[in-house]
């Protein structure tokens, strides 16, 4: 904890108190303030999506569809998916932590395009408002995947407003990615070569490539769905000569790389945390950087593994199955490298490190089960069942959300100038881990037993596993609520954080907590390699380290 005399936060100017009032926040160009705007909004949508999830799990306590009507249930899982995917999973790490940290990590004053950064947030909010509107006026029930002709010809819910909301959120994502790529290329401080970049930055660079190149495809696809709905066009309608599989190809061409948008930033977080709490540089820096790029590129080549039973040819299926095994390799390599980083380290177990351990374990399981799905013979049985649901929740929740929480704890002192309560942090991490596994591991078994996904009611033999899963979900909910509470608590009552409470490497720890608006008093000149823990010593406590050390 802090050993220097705590400075009353109000005396020193930081980005938090530089300017007061709504206008200074809503018209800010400061990447740190924009990141906080995002923090509030993604948390809001996580909450909404989480409530939908709880309702789903409550319904699934009993085999009969007795809590809500079928149509309502269909809306619940549709909007749980849409809200979580487009309004939480895609933006959270890049728009909150990426926005905050990337300029500081590379030694810059701000992103390349601060006004476009703010515009991104407004696009996100616009999309979010449309989504809230959709929910309030009755919702949408097409599934988050919008398969045609169900979504174009048969659904009689608010499909178009949902599409518009997602379209705007997509534009937000594109602009964020564009901003990051230009920033990382052009705004690095002197001495900050590509090979000295923190892996957090590398991860966001790879993510941004996917955001810029992939998102437009789903944007135009959803526009075509909306047009088809409005004018009964026939592009995806077999009765009019259209092809529903064309929709699926176009949709998954983005939506598969989208999952790498979700996980790559989380992987960047884990690299930072593991190095800090092992007091070591990362094992295999080059391999780790190449791995994220490899995942980004290969991720564009595997989309039809979502369509093995959709009616594609056997030969297509073979090609996409093989390519899917290719993309698994760099992910596996990363798990090995994180583990190897701990070898001969000096490991301590503060909350961020607990989340990092959790990530590595849960991502391993999630990733391995992806291999099951890539396997054609098995996929025929388990696709469209709870096995898939378990798989993607392991990587998205056990992976990305766990990493996000770890990152929030790691950088909370920097963002807020306060320490969170360590005991509660560790407790919440443990509760999340237990609750998560209890919720989702039974679903692998359910899936292999044959329980299809998106089922409102199910045969009685599936009940016991569903009850276990729901029990887990309530535990998980507690685990999520705790940080929401103690982070807010810490803003007032938390001990004041020094510049570098973890004695971590990286430029962000060389400036005050919270940082001043301009980030650096003087532009840093970088003369050291990334993760220079040999200079920083074996103790993950705060030491005074000056710029340029």
């Amino acid at each position: 904890m802090a050993t220097a005399a705590p400075v009353e936060l109000g005396e020193r100017e930081s980005y938090l108190n530089a300017g007061h009032g709504f206008k200074s926040w809503l018209l800010t160009r400061d990447h740190k303030r924009i990141s906080m705007l995002y923090l509030l909004s993604v948390t809001f949508f996580f909450f909404i999506g989480g409530i939908f999830a709880l309702l789903i799990r409550l319904e699934l306590l009993t085999p009969a569809g007795d809590l809500v009507q079928s149509d309502t249930y269909n809306k619940l899982f549709t909007m749980h998916g849409q809200v979580m995917v487009f309004f939480f999973l895609i933006p959270a790490v890049p728009a909150v932590l990426g926005n905050f940290l990337i300029p500081i990590m590379i030694g810059a004053k701000d992103l390349a395009f601060p006004r476009i950064n703010l515009l991104s947030w407004y696009f996100y909010i616009g999309g979010g408002l449309l989504m809230v509107y959709t929910i309030l006026v009755g919702g949408v029930d097409t599934g988050w995947t919008f398969y045609t002709p169900l979504s174009t010809e048969f659904a009689n819910t608010h499909v178009i407003t949902a599409i518009l909301g997602i379209f705007l959120a997509g534009f937000s994502s594109i602009l964020t990615g564009l901003n990051f790529i230009v920033t990382i290329h052009r705004m690095r401080a002197p001495g900050m070569t590509w090979n000295r970049l923190p892996l957090f930055v590398w991860s966001h660079y790879a993510t941004s490539i996917i955001q810029v190149l992939g998102t437009p495809v789903v944007a135009i696809t959803l526009v075509l769905v909306a047009l088809e709905r409005l004018f009964h066009l026939g592009i995806f309608n077999p009765q009019l000569g259209g092809d529903p599989l064309l929709f699926q190809h176009l949709f998954w061409f983005y939506s598969h790389p989208a999952v790498y948008i979700m996980i790559l930033p989380g992987m960047g977080i884990v690299s930072e945390i593991v190095c800090c709490f092992s007091r070591k540089r990362i094992f295999g820096y080059q391999a780790m950087a190449m791995a994220v790029l490899g995942i980004a590129v290969l991720g564009f080549l595997v989309w039809a593994h979502h369509m093995f039973v959709a009616g594609i040819s056997v030969y297509s299926a073979l090609v996409f199955s093989l390519l899917s095994y290719f993309v698994a390799v760099p992910s596996a390599v990363k798990v090995f490298n994180w583990t190897a980083t701990m070898y001969k380290g000096s490991i301590s177990f503060q909350t961020p490190m607990l989340y990092a351990f959790g990530f590595i374990g849960l991502f391993t399981i999630g990733g391995l089960t992806g291999l099951f799905l890539a396997c054609l013979g098995v996929d025929v049985h388990v696709t469209d069942t709870y096995f898939v649901i378990a798989h993607f929740h392991y990587v998205m929740v056990g992976g990305m959300v766990v990493a996000y929480l770890g990152g929030m704890h790691f950088w909370w002192p920097k963002i807020s100038g306060r320490m969170y309560p360590e005991f509660w942090g560790k407790l919440a991490a443990l509760i999340v881990f237990i609750g998560f596994n209890l919720t989702f591991f039974p679903q692998f078994i359910l899936g292999y037993m044959g329980m299809p996904r998106r089922y409102h009611a199910y045969p009685a033999e599936f009940q016991i596993l569903n009850v276990l899963s729901t029990a887990g979900a309530t535990v998980l909910a507690v685990g999520y609520l705790l940080p929401m509470i103690y982070f807010v608590w810490s803003m007032r009552y938390g001990p004041i954080a020094p510049a570098n409470p973890w004695n971590a490497a990286g430029l962000e720890w060389q400036i005050p907590s919270p940082p001043p608006t301009e980030n650096f008093e003087e532009e840093p000149v970088v003369t050291w390699e990334a993760y220079n823990y040999e200079d920083l010593g074996a103790v993950p406590e705060k030491q005074e380290v000056s710029v340029g050390h």
């Binding site: 395009f113 790529i181 401080a189 590509w194 495809v217 026939g234 092809d243």
Partner: protein
């Protein structure tokens, strides 16, 4: 990987340049960033239009003859004139950039205005084409009706559903293109205003250059649209 940029500690002259935004160290850094940003934006636009091109290619292959027939209901002369108009407008754009580089405020404004005129001409001709399609009942939806035969196969009737798909894609693709043109015209209008007010010079003309890139992109999209939509099967 690329070596890191040269030290970006700003020069004294740069610091006082009103065109230099505070978070950039040098004008050069700012200009390069803006350029890279615009290229990335155009990259994502390629992917955006790409989805529709993909759909078009799939159905052109699948309904080869029907697409050929539907395509021939378009007026090839309007299309060709529009192609010429856009090519000329790309020329005026380039001349505008050149004028900015040479500090010629009046010439810059004139070239920008000419670009707008040509853009509006394009949109006007497009409007005439759309009106014709409306007359012909070729607008997809409840009023759609199509009768025709496949080129070179006078006995083979065209399936109206397939023709409707052609026109759906025609309107989606040219409509999206026209929307981008309208945005471009608005953009150039703003630039023309500020150019007249003297905001741009050899020292600072990045917005002209980047808007020019955008305009060239919209032009190139049309260069692909025209043959794919208007010129297929004309030899039959």
């Amino acid at each position: 990987m690329a070596t890191n940029q040269a030290a970006v500690v700003g020069t004294h002259a740069d610091q006082h340049d009103p065109a230099l935004l505070h978070h950039f160290a040098t004008k050069e850094q700012q200009k390069n960033s803006a350029s890279l940003g615009m290229w990335l934006f155009l990259g994502q636009e390629v992917m955006f239009f790409g989805g529709m091109f993909c759909a078009y290619l799939v159905y052109r292959y699948k309904y080869f003859g029907d697409f050929g027939s539907a395509s021939q209901t378009l007026n090839i002369w309007y299309g060709a004139i529009n192609t010429g108009v856009l090519l000329c407008s790309s020329l005026t754009v380039v001349l505008a950039v050149r004028a900015a580089q040479l500090n010629k405020r009046k010439a810059l404004t004139v070239w920008l205005l000419l670009t707008i005129v040509l853009g509006l001409a394009f949109l006007g001709i497009k409007g005439i084409e759309y009106a014709e399609k409306f007359q012909d009942h070729h607008i997809p939806g409840p009023t759609f009706a199509y009768h025709g035969t496949v080129p070179s196969h006078p006995n083979q009737q065209v399936d109206p559903h397939h023709a409707e798909i052609y026109f759906s894609l025609y309107f989606a693709m040219t409509g999206m293109h026209a929307l981008h043109m309208i945005i471009g015209v608005g953009l150039f209008g703003t630039l023309a205003f500020w150019a007249w007010r003297g905001k741009y010079s050899a020292n600072y003309y990045t917005p002209i250059e980047n808007a020019g890139l955008y305009w060239h992109f919209v032009d190139i999209v049309w260069i692909y649209l025209f043959p794919l939509l208007y010129l297929i099967d004309r030899h039959r």
